[in-house]
Symmetry: C3
Subunit: 348 residues, 3 copies
């Protein structure tokens, strides 16, 4: 395990030590579980309460939080970002060696940078180009004519169909499928007739695709994922969807074909969107929202109902079915009451 | 890129050219993005507005639409179906060669038609039968005794457990798992006890299974997917589900065990169905509908609430929890008001 | 096909034969589809009606059900559990042979029990330990330092990132990804900055992970799945989630990061949970429930609305948007009516 003194870390990440600069840490942990060998951090205000009792060897704090903690600390402008950077010092993720594993099956016309790494049993088809330092892990499949930029990391068993273009520093987790054939059918005499999906997929720089997420290829033009877009696991992106730069989606989201999502949107888990919509920049959707119309105003949107005991919920649900009737009854009551009031007034 | 004159296309697909029969096109594109080298089409009435400004070299149109467009056109009975057929002329999907890749691992007892194609690192277990012209792409796993009909296409990394029977012209996208062991447990002294899933899976002719979709094997008899059923990505089909011919499901749908779905149903994205239900033919379910009871009447069904700004939504949600109380208050109001009205009448 | 007389089965599973002890069965089937060569069972009260007409050669029944059926039966304390045990007698799942397939790629430092089975094209990285009788099927990827207990079964194409610890008798279905990098990002000058996910995953004994389910590794400490936890297909477990012993989840559930779920919970299909929640023991959540707050009382919880025809539903949904207004109108009506009533009383 690597070990760092607080002085070393403060220097490396532009902080100042409060307490013992020679105290050394060999791991990262939450305030609740940290030991004196661990570095911790306070990022979420609701965890302030844990600061009192933490056994952490040191805590990353903002200047205004320094008085709240008597132990060792490193004072920083942005403790959470610094934690993010320090996390790599303690990461045990194996590093792939440059070169091509002898069991990989690689077409003749493929161009692989000598600093790239191709894992065991990977399959790379004709005319693929793979950039410098990019890692194609074991069991990956890279279809014909794909272009993958430098410094990418494809986890074991990522799958790219043909004609997928990928920018720099792109991460694709295991089981993700990029470029699958979208759901496009005409009807011929009562049977579905599949439409060839002749577009590809373009992923910008710094994109991340989660485990078992699927991004379908375009029906005509490409499906487009902008720069710095982050997709969590088990997401489904339909054909010809466009996603603007910096947008992030939590897991299990489904986006139907040809919907266009703006920049810097935050899409909560299990959100579903109909096809052919336009969502403007800076939209936040809370988890499980059903989106069936376009959104033209930035802001936060939701749908659904909140959890109740099932006994209470059943009553709400039964009434929901008759909500229109209820509303009409209220209108009638208002009208009838107004008449009574009028009569009372006349008669008094 | 292949190139076709409008005269050639009209002849091939039973249309008539309006405009220049010698104009040639080398691609397909939407009305908005097409250039003079592209063929386009009008399928969706909401895109009529793009017809005026399109730069498409030619557009596929119905006879009654011909007057709306001054440029070149091919007049057809069904422009969308013709577009679907023409799409294959411009498809760049690589064609797999017949034969078995030397890295494939194939049991002795397997019967593979000589016109079939088996990709790199595929694994095929005992007593499998693979039909004429069927493509088993790289990294596919085909379990013991599977039978796959002719003209099928399994994308890279499709997985079939043992005893899966597949019809003709079936397409299975990457990451799909057919025949996994369903969720069946008894309880023994407070612990779950797994039930062996001894049924298989039967897929009819012309079935399509989307990327990362899972179809569990039957607990006793087979799970059955009818002819021409189309399943999009990330769908979950539980054990012993039965799906009728021509039914189509959008992505992220989950169908619990032993539910039976009729023919020609259209199931929207992220719909969830409880187990042991019966859904009749010709049912349409809009996206994200929660189905907890059987449906015996054809028609369109829905559940959920529509999107609002989160601020507005929170108010609706809070009231929803007290909907039963609201309904009771309305009843009381009606009763009290009736009394007041009665009194008024008596007193006047 | 194996064949068993009712006498043999009764002896093996501590039951008593009612009817012909020499009748033999060679399969298992539901009451509706069983033939005289099949054994069937009555587990679900709603299937009692099928007992009258079943053609089953014998039925597993409780003593109190014996009078309801005139055919052969085996009388047992728990027919469903006995069915579960008998299911293995008729299971045709192929048995993997001990040993390592020559196409597997295995690092030097790996310790594999000689009774374990490693399938074709499996890839096993440095310092992995695999226990007795455990099966690693074809195309599995096992990352560095993973430890897998005895009697496990990994289906073809299960993927474990590095540092995943797995107990005894664990089953992982195809396409599952354990230990993927969770969704953790800080922000640096408007760009997402990935946080290294330095924790691992711990799965207890008797865990089952469904097809294409993803369990992310911990950001700091491990993501923890307790003993006898059963996860169905297409589930997403975020980083640092903790799941208590014996909890079961149906398909398509999504659990956000750091949420802690108690013991013996039953989570219905497509449930979504926000992050950092605590769910106590013995909670049942019905399908598609949206969980955005912690639960501290055992019981059954729900959210959502029930299915209607789309025409009716649209009316309910439109009113739902104005529910707060409706509630206010009721309050006003109550107030106005009380005044009228007061006036009436005074005037009379």
């Amino acid at each position: 395990m690597p070990k760092y003194t607080l002085a070393e870390l403060a220097e490396k990440f532009n902080g100042t030590v409060k307490g013992d600069p020679n105290h050394s840490v060999s791991g990262l942990a939450s305030l609740q579980t940290a030991t004196e060998n661990d570095l911790s951090f306070l990022a979420n205000a609701q965890y302030k309460k844990y600061l009192l009792d933490t056994k952490a060897g040191a805590v990353l704090l903002k200047a205004e939080q320094a008085d709240m903690f008597v132990g060792n600390a490193i004072i920083l402008d942005d403790p959470y970002l610094t934690y993010a950077k320090i996390s790599y010092l303690f990461d045990t993720k194996p590093i792939s060696q440059a070169g091509i594993h002898p069991t990989a099956v690689i077409a003749d016309s493929v161009k692989i940078d000598p600093t790239a790494s191709i894992g065991a049993h990977a399959v790379i088809e004709a005319d693929v180009v793979i950039g410098a330092r990019t890692v194609i892990s074991a069991h990956c499949f890279i279809g014909a004519r794909c272009v993958i930029g430098e410094d990418g990391w494809l986890a074991p068993r990522a799958t790219l169909y043909h004609d997928v273009k990928i920018g720099k520093r792109v991460v694709i987790q295991s089981g993700a499928v990029i470029g699958g054939e979208g759901f496009g059918f005409a009807i011929e005499k009562g049977n579905w007739f599949r439409i060839a999906q002749i577009g590809g997929v373009t992923l910008g720089d710094d994109v991340e695709i989660g485990a078992n997420t699927t991004v379908d290829r375009g029906a005509l033009a490409d499906t487009i994922i902008g720069n710095d877009v982050k997709l969590d696991n088990q997401i489904m992106i339909g054909h010809n969807v466009q996603i603007g730069d910096h947008t992030a989606m939590a897991a299990c989201v489904g986006i139907s074909g040809s919907t266009k999502i703006g920049k810097r949107c935050i899409i909560g888990g299990s959100v579903g969107m109909a096809g052919h919509l336009e969502i403007c920049d800076n939209v936040i959707l809370t988890g499980m929202t059903m989106v069936t119309r376009s959104i033209s105003e930035p802001g936060t949107y939701s749908s659904g109902t909140s959890m109740q005991t099932s006994a209470e919920w059943r009553k709400s649900v039964a009434r929901f079915r008759h909500l229109d009737e209820m509303a009409r009854k209220i209108q009638q009551l208002e009208k009838r009451l107004a008449e009574v009031e009028q009569n009372d007034k006349s008669s008094s």
